[in-house]
């Protein structure tokens, strides 16, 4: 029983990270119909920047803040420089462009920092676990992970629902032409969406890299794939779906690695994805869609 509890908490913690990655993908997909394959690499880049800042100044939290700001800026810059031109391209072409950006970012990181795992990445809080009896349950870092992702999600929901900028963003996603006629600067809203997604992705990287990953240019590849799995499971059009899908992915993976063996975690993700997609080919939270002739 206590093992089940441990696996559940562990799954929720990783699920929160996958949910954050999934949310950043959905934020971009909803507004621009671009699937940002570079999301994981962007998060790794911000984590490296945070590490450099922390080493230079000695302050962990300054590095953390810089990572979020860097993610915000990186998202905005990529949208303006590369992806704005990709929005009109076919879905396949925009996927390929995303893959190109992913390869470039990881290569640049490798050129600057090297490909070897030679650094230790500090956690925000202690990773020592509290235990009941002999079973480890959770650490301060676990609580911080779940709590901060939850806070960011609530903040994003509030931003989108209650603020004028949120209304403009939703209008740009829902009906770009009408929004433009009504005076919304749609392009700027899309840039804002990318920037927010970049910041959320950066948060995911800062949270997950200290817990079991090493800091190399490819650190976030696996996390990206699983976050993507979460987003696809939930349905790419729904932020709520992204969160549910991400947490579900985290839980399924945690149970699979706990009860079946750690070799089979990715297979469990594949099975989850296939079962959901074969029942609902556009994810759990997709609306009914008419196919256009």
């Amino acid at each position: 029983m206590s093992r089940f509890l441990f696996l559940t908490i562990n799954g929720l913690s990783f699920g929160a990270v996958y949910a954050a990655v999934a949310l950043s993908l959905v934020l971009i997909w909803r507004t621009t119909r671009v699937l940002n394959f570079a999301q994981g690499a962007m998060a790794t880049a911000t984590a490296f920047i945070a590490l450099s800042v922390t080493q230079a100044t000695g302050s962990y939290w300054l590095g953390f803040a810089v990572a979020l700001v860097a993610g915000f800026l990186l998202g905005a810059v990529l949208e303006i420089a590369v992806f704005r031109k990709a929005e009109t391209a076919s879905p396949l072409n925009s996927i390929v462009i995303g893959v190109g950006v992913l390869i470039v970012i990881e290569a640049v990181l490798g050129m600057v920092y090297g490909n070897q795992n030679s650094r230790s990445f500090p956690a925000s809080f202690s990773t020592d676990t509290y235990s009941i009896g002999n079973t480890a349950l959770f650490s301060d870092q676990t609580l911080f992970t779940i709590g901060s992702v939850l806070a960011v999600m609530l903040a994003l929901a509030a931003l989108l629902t209650w603020t004028p900028s949120g209304l403009r963003m939703r209008a740009s996603a829902f009906a770009p032409e009408v929004a433009r006629l009504l005076g919304v600067r749609v392009g700027r809203m899309l840039t804002l969406g990318w920037a927010l997604a970049g910041a959320v992705g950066a948060l995911a990287g800062m949270l997950v890299i200290p817990t079991g990953l090493v800091i190399i240019p490819q650190s976030m590849d696996a996390v990206f794939v699983l976050g993507f799995t979460g987003a696809v499971v939930g349905g790419l059009d729904s932020p709520v779906g992204a969160v549910v899908g991400g947490v579900a992915t985290g839980l399924v993976l945690s149970y699979a690695s706990g009860y079946l063996g750690s070799d089979l975690t990715l297979v469990a993700a594949l099975v989850l994805l296939m079962v959901v997609l074969l029942v609902r080919p556009s994810g759990l939270f997709s609306g009914v869609q008419a196919r256009r002739v």
């Binding site: 390929v96 462009i97 893959v99 470039v104 990881e106 050129m111 987003a231 070799d263 297979v267 074969l278």
Partner: protein, 355 residues
């Protein structure tokens, strides 16, 4: 003479056969001139051409995307290694053993691809990309779960027989490997070129351009999509088998990077074009070597040289991918056609992807 030429123009099969024979002659003559160390690159080039040609048919001609072709290559590689080693254990020898193994690898991968294709035919755009991506990442690590069969992270090496003595005693093993790779590539190109010009190829393009219109014309869209996926998997499996002949079957070799490299080759060469797949594979295999050679000549410190040689090729590839997609969607092959403007266009401009 003119009559023969006119007859050849009429028969696609004959034209492709002539090209195949020319290719075989070219390979034999060309490899005779080369140094020992160049053979391994040629063999790997053959494997890449097999897989990239299948991928370009899937993505460019049928509009389905796969980001997990490395997993299919892994299936082919392990099948070839297992069967070949089984034959060797039983002391079965002969020139026919290797072709049988490679065919079995292609066949098993085609069956696996058909199963995946059934799922893929229900999925569109990003959902298909996501499913194949997860497949590509999840499948190779299974080998470490069944360590006794697949030998874990070390993988299997295929025990290939030495070349037949009729080729002469100076004929090296590496030379033989290069032949195997390139001949497989030629067979795949011949097969796919004919398929492309057949009714099946036309059906694939019809489904790519407009699924609903294709269905209204009486085509079964899922069946064509599944067939394409199976064909593409078969060639990927053959490519994986060739890689097993070259380097053995290791799970680490069939990672996300290989899947993305194949996509890169196909896109840089020009989506939907077999010539493009060949050009793209050549660029992918040789540009990296070219760049690393240049970097070594710069005389930088050891660590920065290592960082540059490990990463500069990828950076160039990534930039090429972005530039090709934004500026030249036809890829190298499209550029070549526009520059030459000699060959009349036979197919519509490949766009790829669903509307």
């Amino acid at each position: 003479m003119a009559a023969v030429l006119a007859w050849m123009k009429g028969s696609t099969l004959l034209r492709h056969l002539v090209l195949l024979v020319l290719g075989v002659v070219l390979v034999i003559v060309l490899t005779d001139q080369l140094q020992e160390y160049q053979f391994i690159h040629l063999g790997i080039l053959g494997a890449y051409i097999c897989a990239a040609a299948g991928l370009t048919v899937l993505v460019g001609l049928n509009g389905q995307i796969s980001l997990g072709h490395a997993a299919l290559m892994a299936i082919g590689a392990y099948t070839v290694a297992l069967i070949q080693n089984h034959f060797t254990d039983q002391n079965v020898t002969g020139l026919w053993v290797l072709p049988i193994c490679l065919l079995a690898g292609a066949f098993v991968t085609a069956v696996a691809g058909a199963v995946i294709g059934v799922a893929a035919a229900r999925l569109r755009g990003p959902y298909l990309a996501g499913a194949t991506l997860t497949l590509g990442v999840a499948l190779p690590p299974i080998t470490s779960h069944f360590t006794s069969l697949f030998n874990g992270d070390q993988g299997l090496s295929a025990s290939i027989q030495s070349p037949p003595t009729s080729l002469g005693y100076n004929f090296s093993f590496q030379h033989w490997q290069a032949w195997i790779g390139l001949f497989c590539a030629l067979v795949v190109l011949f097969f796919l070129a004919n398929l492309n010009r057949s009714a099946v190829g036309r059906h694939m393009r019809a489904v790519r351009d407009d699924e609903i219109a294709a269905a209204l014309c009486g085509l079964s869209v899922p069946r064509i999509q599944i067939t394409t996926f199976a064909v593409s998997s078969a060639t990927a499996g053959l490519g994986g088998g060739v890689l097993a002949v070259m380097l053995g079957a290791r799970p680490g070799a069939f990672d996300l990077v290989l899947s993305l490299t194949l996509l890169l080759a196909v896109v840089i060469g020009g989506l939907g074009s077999l010539t493009g797949a060949v050009i793209g594979s050549v660029i992918v295999v040789y540009l990296a070597t070219f760049i690393t050679d240049r970097v070594s000549g710069l005389g930088l410190s050891a660590s920065s040289t290592q960082n540059l040689t490990n990463n500069l090729p990828s950076a160039v590839f990534g930039l090429l991918l972005i530039i090709v997609m934004l500026a030249l969607p036809g890829g190298a092959q499209g550029l070549l056609r526009r520059l030459l403007a000699l060959i009349p266009r036979r197919t519509t401009q490949p766009t790829g992807g669903q509307k």
